[in-house]
Amino acid sequence: MYIKQLSVFVENKSGRLAEITSTIAKAGIDIRALSIADTTDFGILRLVVDKPFEAEKALKEAGLTVSLTDVIAVGIPDRPGGFAETMCKIADKDVGVEYMYAFISRDHDRAYLIMRVADNEKAIAALVAHGCEILSGDSVYKL
């Protein structure tokens, strides 16, 4: 039901992102999706990768502050209004979204959302009730 996402604390200095992503590259880890939120001082890098536990280990060994969180991955139709419709379903149930990011798939008519919501179960129930596709961890890691 949930997929594992890595959050990495990143100081805002040049070259830091390159160093961090090189660390996981050396561990042979493939990135599926990423997003970064930042202020002027620091940022949080969020990653969905093919081997989340190995990635966590590699990043911790490199001395970074890391956490693994359960997030929801939703498949949505890649057409005008596809995203808006999905959002309406969650909003109807009053589920707050902490953050999200999206990417399109190799199939030309699918897109995926990675969502961190206040109440995972409530969000999934709302999405499933409206026929949305909830992706399992394995299916996302193998994308």
Partner: protein, 440 residues
Amino acid sequence: MENRIFNRDMECMPRKELEALQLERLKSLVDYCEKNSKFYAERLKKAGVTADKIKCLSDIEYIPYTTKDDLRDTYPFGMLSVPKEKIVRVHASSGTTGNPTVVAYTREDLENWSEQVARLAMAAGAHEGTTVQICFGYGMFTGALGLHYGLEKIGAVVVPTSSGNTEKQLKFMRDFQTDAIVATPSYCMYLAEAARSMQDKYPMSSYNLKYGILGSEGSTPEMRTEIENHWGNGFFCTDNYGMSELNGPGMSGECMYRDGLHINEDHFYCEVIDSVSGRTLDKGSTGELVVTNLTKRGLPMIRYRTKDITNINYDACKCGRTTARMHKIIGRSDDMIKVRGVNVFPSQVESALIGINGISPNYLIVLRREGYSDSMEVRVELVDGSLLDRYGELVALQKRIHDNIKNILGIEIKVNLVEPNSIERFTGKAKRVLDLRNEK
């Protein structure tokens, strides 16, 4: 704990009488130095001060300060004001840099010193018949022998175990049913941890320890609580203060109310000065403590700059003593930095960070000049990954650190969270301040 006072006449004297006694003793000290101390006679002459010119206590400000360098420069016996044969004891500081500082005592000096220690030891809970283990290292260091003689004076059962050999310390503590220990805060904590690790064999209830008479290094109230909880069973710690240049331990100590350290004012006249300008500050201000030992004769000490930062409260204490109380040492004047005209000690930032979860105790203060104003940034390492889930939690953590530090320092600062281990580690004394204000 019972409120016992060793020398009610001196410790509870009305302040007016106390100040009159201080003035009388100051005059006789100056007179004595003019006649007997080559070192001070020269200084007093240069400053144009004689005993009869001293009309009130603040006239002491005409006499120049004495510093640790004076003691080093006159090593070993250049500041003695009696022939060496009249000295009955010599102590010395460790002297990590350059010559050690040597101090010397006449028989009368030792008697006064014991009296001073007896008072603080009784304020800390010891009395006749109390079994006290002295876990300070005996030797050239003044701590152990200072407490030793003071405790004997009040009739305590003194057990001079010295420092080290923890298992033996604990064995005596159980077998003798030791009531109190004299130790540094860190050794007292170490002993408690060692006792706890042997609980299977010797439960904590096999100890009778009630009082910790702690000194020779500073401790925060948080550390004190931790030590007390470690020993448990109502263990009660007090802090005392002194330094070899001013006899040793005995200058001041906490009573059961622990609201400042009572100064033995009939023996010590204290001033608080601005350590940069050298100006004497108003009563109650925070600054460098300067102490005159009014009764010491073997090696007199007038206006000694301690480099310790504190403030003094002259209000009467609940315990009945009228002697002024000095605040626990806030910092060292050597560590002090000035930011936008405000005195800042790294130790203040340290205490603001205690109790905040998710960060390491390591920090770095970075000072910059922006336009004509100073800016202060505090870098703190984030170690707890669980805060990364919600951005708001990181912002809240940053705000909590900011508010804590700002409340203590009273100036605006900027907090920056940085990655773990990104602040340089030091094996010895940590470097906590990076001052970039004069860099272009």
